[in-house]
């Protein structure tokens, strides 16, 4: 049987969901027989080709995130999102409580340890936008919440997909933290 093609993307988030995926440990070997990862922050391949399953970690926090989300959506049959940021907005959406200026000012004037740190400005930098969960930008087919989702939850979701079912996490596995 041909392997299921999967592409993953990492948007506005901490990478914890991908870490949790790697935490599958020996179960990864079994999955490797069933899926092929064509693009992922883990492989550092960022160009999407058409895949069966697209996976997004993180919320949409700037114009670039939005473009990636739309691009992956266009290239996949089923879009799954991982983690509270992608499902709900999560911790990164806390900045929605403030204006972008306030957030940048706070970061570059008090938190950043970089020398002579000024708010960077360049045409190449995508401006920050209001943080949104993925389903407010593109259609999402299944959700794996958690901060990060446990590797058990990720494994459950992937296995369900491989069995041909759209996964909804059972209450016992679902966690928001």
């Amino acid at each position: 049987m041909a392997k299921v093609k999967v592409a993953t993307a990492w948007l506005d988030a901490c990478a914890g969901c991908h870490m949790s995926f790697l935490d599958l440990d020996e179960a990864l070997i079994g999955l490797a027989n069933a899926i092929e990862i064509t693009a992922s922050p883990i492989t550092d391949i960022k160009e999407f080709s058409p895949v069966d399953v697209g996976i997004i970690e993180g919320a949409v926090g700037n114009a670039h995130d939005e473009e990636v989300a739309k691009n992956l959506r266009a290239n996949c049959k089923i879009l799954m999102v991982w983690g509270d940021c992608a499902c709900f907005g999560g911790i990164v959406s806390m900045r929605n409580l403030f204006t972008t200026e306030e957030v940048l000012q706070r970061y570059y004037s008090t938190e950043s340890t970089a020398k002579g740190s000024n708010i960077p400005s360049s045409e190449d930098l995508p401006p920050l936008t209001e943080v949104k969960p993925i389903n407010q930008v593109v259609k999402v087919d299944c959700y794996v919440p958690g901060c990060p989702p446990s590797s058990k939850a990720i494994h459950y979701a992937l296995t369900e997909l491989l069995e041909g079912r759209i996964p909804i996490l059972p209450s016992e596995i679902m966690r928001f933290d």
């Binding site: 999102v81 509270d84 499902c87 709900f88 907005g89 999560g90 911790i91 959406s93 806390m94 929605n96 409580l97 403030f98 969960p133 389903n135 407010q136 999402v140 299944c142 959700y143 794996v144 919440p145 901060c147 909804i168 996490l169 059972p170 209450s171 679902m174 966690r175 928001f176 933290d177």
Partner: protein
């Protein structure tokens, strides 16, 4: 109440007329999700999680507020209802900040549990991200408005359980907030810090500030025991993880004695002075040095023998009956002294003398009524007592009576009104003139004919005969009209309760107690063989110790030697300066304190949570306390130390 029959989910179930649909569901183990409902509080139908379908109703209705009727046909679990419930959850999640990963209550949150139950893996509505404040100025609790779902459980707990009425909703619509008084910080409001709201809050909107992140409910063992903080004798639920006290909760918000106060819920968790972890002996250099229990016992044995009976014992009344009895035996049989007292013995001697003088009464403290009588009162007189600081649950009961029954509250106190927001009348007699005031009040009651004639003995009439009203007014500084008004209110009350306490006992005048008992007696404020009078007692087991006869009093002005079993109590300055005059002082205590620093021998002692035994509440209930924490580092129980010393003296103590 008549039985009614309903059909719920196709099954016939019985209930009582007057029950809500939710109550009948719960009584019949039919699961209906709830969020704003909490046992012990009134229902308001705020959250709509408990919506059910009722035949002939046009739309779903909240089960918690819908009165059940005979013949109702109810459905609780249709696909439509489950869809609505999930939708309600999604809307709640979009309204404020309900991201769990940085919430203290994650794992203990009812909103989160419901979201898991309804497999809420995403939200279909835009989030509102309102910018709300966090109020952490209070000593014991934090209000994080971002976590609030406006279910109103906290405000109902504040008014119905604590009777404090501090919390309410302010603003309207989207802007609605739980607010203390008029949008004040809770630390600066009329909040009494009882923490009923903390326990009632289903989310992380109001939480306990002093034991953050110590453990979740599921990780804790729960042990029901007796609160050691005062004589009310509340039951408390101690949550323990890895031999650490994580949290204290009220086992029930329904029972007034289970509501807990700031001391029981938070005070017991506060940092304590360093523990005594080993026996200490004053060495050659005059410094306290660690020593073995054996050598400490040796020194005590020697000095005991040398003191030849000029040796006294004193004990804290935070200690349960078993150790009190053993200590009594230790002093009388092993030490051979009849000089024994409790730290609060003086209060006892005044109260018991006052009761004895009252018609030669031999019943002792049994003449006082249970504190629940306060809830039935239509007039309460608080004289020389500060229940909010001494026995906060008593003050809760007073506030409940005033707010629920429009009870008249009269405070008699020379210096301050102890219920500033609640008092109807504050009489401010000159210091020391309370006796004249109370006797004057007795006379006014008699003169006005507001007394039960057969209970008003001629001797009493004669003894207050001299309290001519003009003289009473001059001595006390209280206007005649106010005195008469108090007489009218108390005299005409169906159920008048008098509460007195420490401030009054400070006058060292037993006749004040007698006068109070007389007042209750002549006005017919009697239930069975008890008068509606309550004396506030300072410690958890004051009454137990007093009734066991430990408050005999120290016979000598200055005994040669004193054995002070202090446990986890601390001593005041007055006692401390008396202790300084004693040649040989043994202090058995849980904590390092000024008292241990002047002792010749210091012995360790468990704290309340490390012991078990019987307590007697201030109104005579016998309560069984459980050991909540294990003693660390092989520290002995008080019992073992007393037995060791007795052995050294060649006596057996059991």
């Amino acid at each position: 109440m008549n039985d009614i029959t309903l059909t719920i989910n196709g099954k016939q179930v019985k209930g009582k007329a007057g029950d809500t649909v939710l109550e009948i569901c719960q009584a019949n183990s039919i699961d209906v999700p709830t969020l704003c409902h909490l046992e012990g509080l009134s229902d308001v139908g705020a959250c709509r999680m408990c919506v059910v379908e009722i035949e002939k109703e046009r739309r779903p209705v909240p089960a918690c507020t819908y009165p059940a009727r005979d013949g109702l046909v109810v459905k609780t679990n249709t696909e439509r209802l489950e869809r609505y419930r999930r939708q309600i959850l999604e809307l709640i999640f979009t309204e404020h900040n309900h991201f769990c990963m940085f919430c203290e209550q994650s794992g203990d949150c009812e909103l989160q549990k419901l979201a898991y139950r309804y497999q809420m893996d995403h939200v279909r509505y835009p989030y509102t991200f309102p910018s709300l404040s966090v109020d952490s100025l209070s000593d014991y609790l934090v209000i994080d408005h971002n976590r609030c779902i406006l279910c109103g459980r906290c405000l109902r707990a504040c008014s119905e359980v604590a009777a404090s009425h501090t919390l309410s909703f302010s603003q309207r619509g989207w802007k609605t907030l739980v607010s203390a008084d008029l949008e004040q910080s809770v630390g600066e409001s009329s909040c009494l810090l009882c923490g009923a709201c903390v326990q009632a809050c289903p989310t992380g909107a109001i939480f306990n500030k002093i034991n953050l992140y110590k453990g979740k409910t599921d990780e804790c063992q729960q042990i029901k025991t007796v609160c050691p903080a005062c004589g009310v004798g509340c039951e408390l639920n101690a949550l323990v993880k890895d031999n650490n006290l994580v949290r204290i909760e009220a086992p029930s918000l329904v029972d007034p004695r289970g509501a807990l106060c700031r001391i029981g819920r938070f005070g017991l968790l506060e940092p304590t002075p360093p523990r005594i972890t080993s026996p200490l002996l004053r060495g050659g250099q005059g410094e306290l040095e660690e020593c073995s229990l054996d050598s400490a016992v040796e020194v005590i044995g020697m000095r005991l023998a040398a003191a030849k009976g000029n040796f006294a014992g004193m004990i804290s009344t935070r200690i349960p009956n078993e150790i009190l009895s053993l200590f009594n035996k230790f002093i009388s049989e092993v030490v051979g002294s009849d000089s024994i007292d409790t730290l609060d013995g003086e209060s006892y001697r005044i109260i018991s003398e006052g009761i004895k003088q009252f018609q030669n009464n031999g019943k002792g403290l049994g003449i006082e009524c249970p504190i629940e009588s306060i809830l039935e009162a239509d007039c309460i007189i608080v004289v020389g007592a500060d229940p909010e600081s001494a026995n906060p649950i008593v003050s809760t009961l007073v506030r409940r009576a005033v707010s629920q029954r429009k009870t008249k509250l009269i405070v008699i106190d020379p210096s301050r009104d102890v219920f500033p927001l609640w008092t109807d009348l504050w009489l401010k007699p000159r210091v020391g003139s309370e006796g004249v005031l109370l006797s004057g009040l007795t006379k006014v009651l008699i003169d006005k004919g507001l007394v039960v004639p057969e209970k008003t003995k001629a001797e009493l009439v004669q003894s207050v005969g001299g309290y001519e009203i003009g003289e009473v007014v001059r001595t006390t500084g209280i206007e005649k009209e106010r005195l008469e008004l108090v007489a009218e209110i108390y005299g005409r009350a169906e159920c008048g309760v008098i509460i007195y306490g420490e401030e009054l006992l400070k006058r060292h005048d037993a006749s004040l107690v007698t006068t109070i008992l007389n007042l209750a007696n002549i006005t017919g404020n009697q239930v069975g063989d008890k008068l509606r009078v309550i004396s506030l007692k300072p410690c958890a087991n004051s009454r137990g110790a007093w009734e066991l006869g430990l408050a005999k009093g120290i016979k000598q002005d200055k005994p040669k030697a004193l054995y002070l079993l202090l446990a986890d109590e601390l001593v005041g300055d007055e006692l401390l300066s008396w202790l300084r005059r004693i040649d040989f002082l043994v202090v058995q205590a849980s904590y390092h304190s000024p008292a241990t620093s002047i002792a010749d021998v210091v012995l360790p002692s468990p704290i309340w949570a490390e012991r078990e035994g019987k307590y007697v509440s201030m109104d005579g209930r016998v309560l069984e306390s459980k050991q909540v924490l294990q003693l660390k580092d092989g520290l002995p129980q008080d019992r073992e130390i007393l037995i060791e010393i007795s052995k050294k003296l060649g006596r057996e103590l059991s």
